[in-house]
Symmetry: D2
Subunit: 385 residues, 4 copies
Amino acid sequence: MSRKLRMGMIGGGQGAFIGAVHRIAAIMDGEIELVCGAFSSTPEKSKASGAALHLPPDRCYGHYEEMILAEKKLPEGIRMDFVAIVTPNHVHFGPAKLALENGFHVVLDKPATLNSAEAYELKKIIDTSGLLFCLTHTYTGYPMIKEARQIIKEGRLGKLRKVYVQYPQGWLSTFEEGTDYKQAQWRTDPSRSGIAGCMGDIGTHAFNLAEYVTGEKMTQLCAELQTFVPGRQLDDDGMVMMKFSNGLNGLLYASQINAGEENNVQISVYGEKGGLVWKQEDANSLLLKMLNQPQQILRFGQPYLSSFAKLGVRTPPGHPEGYLEAFANIYINFARTLRARLDGKKATEEWLDFPGIDDGIRGMQFIEHVVKSNASTEKWMPFTV
Amino acid sequence: MSRKLRMGMIGGGQGAFIGAVHRIAAIMDGEIELVCGAFSSTPEKSKASGAALHLPPDRCYGHYEEMILAEKKLPEGIRMDFVAIVTPNHVHFGPAKLALENGFHVVLDKPATLNSAEAYELKKIIDTSGLLFCLTHTYTGYPMIKEARQIIKEGRLGKLRKVYVQYPQGWLSTFEEGTDYKQAQWRTDPSRSGIAGCMGDIGTHAFNLAEYVTGEKMTQLCAELQTFVPGRQLDDDGMVMMKFSNGLNGLLYASQINAGEENNVQISVYGEKGGLVWKQEDANSLLLKMLNQPQQILRFGQPYLSSFAKLGVRTPPGHPEGYLEAFANIYINFARTLRARLDGKKATEEWLDFPGIDDGIRGMQFIEHVVKSNASTEKWMPFTV
Amino acid sequence: MSRKLRMGMIGGGQGAFIGAVHRIAAIMDGEIELVCGAFSSTPEKSKASGAALHLPPDRCYGHYEEMILAEKKLPEGIRMDFVAIVTPNHVHFGPAKLALENGFHVVLDKPATLNSAEAYELKKIIDTSGLLFCLTHTYTGYPMIKEARQIIKEGRLGKLRKVYVQYPQGWLSTFEEGTDYKQAQWRTDPSRSGIAGCMGDIGTHAFNLAEYVTGEKMTQLCAELQTFVPGRQLDDDGMVMMKFSNGLNGLLYASQINAGEENNVQISVYGEKGGLVWKQEDANSLLLKMLNQPQQILRFGQPYLSSFAKLGVRTPPGHPEGYLEAFANIYINFARTLRARLDGKKATEEWLDFPGIDDGIRGMQFIEHVVKSNASTEKWMPFTV
Amino acid sequence: MSRKLRMGMIGGGQGAFIGAVHRIAAIMDGEIELVCGAFSSTPEKSKASGAALHLPPDRCYGHYEEMILAEKKLPEGIRMDFVAIVTPNHVHFGPAKLALENGFHVVLDKPATLNSAEAYELKKIIDTSGLLFCLTHTYTGYPMIKEARQIIKEGRLGKLRKVYVQYPQGWLSTFEEGTDYKQAQWRTDPSRSGIAGCMGDIGTHAFNLAEYVTGEKMTQLCAELQTFVPGRQLDDDGMVMMKFSNGLNGLLYASQINAGEENNVQISVYGEKGGLVWKQEDANSLLLKMLNQPQQILRFGQPYLSSFAKLGVRTPPGHPEGYLEAFANIYINFARTLRARLDGKKATEEWLDFPGIDDGIRGMQFIEHVVKSNASTEKWMPFTV
């Protein structure tokens, strides 16, 4: 009898934002069930969180180490298949390593680790383990982003020239970390977030989106970071001029002090023959602007889309899908790939279209280069890996 | 130990559209699990569908009657709590009646039944049973639609004057029922769909939306239906002039031959002091236009919204939610109410905000009045119940 | 030496809205100059208005009759070529008749006259005179509306099925005519406006737009008018179900009590193969939605447009043009046609694309049928001419 | 008797784009008339252009020097009041100087001159002459841009933090200067355009817009220019990181190779309390996003706007105005100011709100700094004047 894939979760206790998103995204398609978790730093809190999620107490653990070792001892038909790690950045590497070393596949929230050294080390562990690893760069899960990538891959825009990517938020416009707002506290704390604030939290998404959509790699950058809110320990705003492989260049900005903005992710790419524009606020459309032709609005779910874009759609055109479905597209592709492996089958190219450790390493490198460039008086800094 | 609520499904086998939507909507929030189903008309197909959903073969039934009677015999900790009925319209009343008579709560896809006689009868059965009943009029699950209703309820627009509601689709612009497209086949077949095509399938949504948002009831109507595609047995297009209680009037149109339109639901309401506009294509915004003041864009998830709108949001502002989340909001409110009952608690007004049999009766009455008005040479026909 | 065409104006004194619009529209392209006027009902006010417009006192007249007779006596190189009549509706027929009978071409603001009898009579006078007559139905001056008409004319949408046209305003949501607001006063006064208020003022625009774009003629209608504001003498809101030639049908609504709306003209047309949508708020775009193809945004000024649409554009794409340019497109086509006549040349089909007396008669008939249908208990009323 | 102000034009012969725009903008409001011109480089072409504009042959001159000297000799009631210079950049300084030295006020197309030395020199001449000078930075003529400036000036956004301004075009995506396209030829020719292409032509608009709206001055910059199209002599694309007075910083980009873009000017500004966004494609709206409040759409023509924004509106709200009206707002404010001077009155602050030589100098400095920064390996370059 077929069965759902079994997920354990590390982090994501009551009050967490991204843990709840992971759970919805994971279970939505009926292919994954949550079977256990180490949701919080104390056994009591973890069990309380687990109870609210209708988990049995004996599968709610007080620490991720306890969970991994205990689950390993459970019979094959019961123990979790993979672990989803949704903790703050400083608790990414440890549980990922332990899980992999004990035979569990891993889904990890971004950014990959606390620094690039950890990310490189993690790659080695993944490679050695031979297990699956997925990094949840949500925006690459949007069908119309997948379509944008395919359009460019097929050369329909001609040789690329410019990419502009923006990720403005406004929720840290005031000193939120001075209140009891946990999301603000850890994201602005270097010991938990790493060397970058805004650029680590959301700048990495913008960077990942730019490389994913264009298919090109950043080669040089010139970055300027800011900390606008007094008392804040990390950057809350940044802008980057960028050069990529094959003559592409462009701009990236990310901010958490663009007061009044919510989560306004946008990307535009221009080539010799035309351009395309995607805005998360109208996520189910992709604007295609070919030279001297009527602009086109490509719409999710339509028959003219690529196999990559079609795969990530659950409803007919005109029934808007959103952020949670994009997130679920990461999970479902991971699940399809994992199930293929369990069934001894080969995953298709479309199923394999989810971010992995190489994206994670690029992201950590991005953070470190941005911080370094910000501190430099040189205009252009090579992006070396 | 707390547990998920257990759902059985009638209909929704492989190839069905709305069954898959129900499943995603039901399970997304981790409060409901699918435990059994009578997915298709033959035991083989039903078991195949169930297997793809990772259900054990002994919970996949060949007929809804078999399922209801078998589940009733299962121990309390195992048998389903409620049944979700997602079959074509002619198989709504039968399973709903049987489920209720055997002690199962019911979630039913719209429109309620094949005709209003069945709907009235169903109401009696529900009342007698004392069980919960939920009708999935999806659009009332959108947070910004709930906000619109609250704004009007609070009198912020003043006395209402006009409501305009539209529901254009284009997917039946050609004779799709002549192909092997099942969705088109049953929706255009009077024996399965009832006396109306387009007006039953989507006109009822528009009607329900108008009454839900304005809080007023239709009192008179003047309708004109059309069948544009040759060979089609039911209307594929309709328009209605409407009068409501308290001096409100307006227009409704629904079409499945607006070629090029996807699912472009919109509603605008105007009162003495201002108006509001909602478009499903930008579902997370509500436009509020007060006389002589700047227009406002109210956004889902923001702190200034009502408790009704806030309840139906899973992510921070700017992470777009869509149709599936709106659908899930129907389910989660039903689940909250059901759990309150199981726990012997009182459901809040917010939880109780999901459509029920009275909406279903109104919908069936709408269909019958529209068809009757269409056949009449009188301009205005009273909407009698 | 070439010269500008000379315009005299009747009405449009200080405080008038549409007179100023006519002047801007007329002179913008450098082909027409204002040389005289009877701007107001008293010589003093008329001279004051004329002085503000930098006209010599001897060309500012106290009454239109005085102006027409005086100008007629002026030498050919000095006297006006045509008269623009921008008075309230009850002062349309008189000056138009007198001007035509004295050899002056006429540009007339809509609606044509106070009733259809006058409109028919005016047509006779025009035909007898052999002079040019132009009715300023502004919306047909928008390049993208011209493009919409051409697309349909070329059959690209296939046989037409539905047309929806809306014209919501909110400026008469309160009893504005009780203040000293002149625009509100005459428009709500039957003796100056005619038998309809909202439907005469803006409903006629919507009707004209529907017939212009689709190329079809209304054959039946079912109308409902309302007067929402207490004390008001004429309708301030109306909705109409419509049948047209060749199987087309649809909806029209116009309102001046849609509180919060400004001037939100929209039209959508659907045929067997696709649909198109135009919204004045995004006037420089035309959305083309063909079945199963990406939607297209056609943009003003682009090389792929028809000769009719291209003619009415002054700037490269992306430099938005608006209402005044649309209005000027009516004037410039009238001017091109008039100049061709003066030069003994033949006007092109594109130049002749401006509204005339036949549109005026249709508009008056529309008003009268709408009022009649509103008073009837019959559903469908033939639109007879 | 009052009279129109008399304009002479230098440049703007047949085939020119911006000359025609100047003429429409100047005459639209009935306050200015075109009386003479030196439209082209040969007397024949100039007279042909003038004839098409209905000018008498004796007021059509073969060279600007001839025009200025001849007009000077005409009687006061006949000769031009001011000259509008609409030639390519290398023919800005000469005619402006000569006009001023001969007592004529000047309206000059942007950028001011061929280089900053000329601009400084021009300022001296203007100051010495005591005459009026206007530089047509169109975008500051949009009412909603004026409103944005006032909102910021009043401190409603709090202390400013970020400004983002973009000006993407796509019309030079291919080697247009290799065809007979005159607009492309001179703009890409250093001898006629100056040391910058794209950044001089449209980058200066973006820069001017940023300083105008924010009220802050650029203090440092880091620029990167590109020439994407092979064979092109000047930049066709550029991006700039910017620091301004009072802690504001931001990004600017301008491009003429963003294939598929038309003229997509946008500006966003964020302060401690909120942000605002303006897009030329929706020029009649201004989006105001205050922290934790509903977003507001401010609309042109509404009573709640500032006196500066209200002045530049010709029609009621909802009758869209565009680029030509924005341009006309520059002219009409210049005309109001000039008329006040002629009448011995004092111009209001609102009338004086048009760009002048100081904007011109800033623009030339911007061009030179951008080119210098592009050539430098230093990250930040002071913006010195």
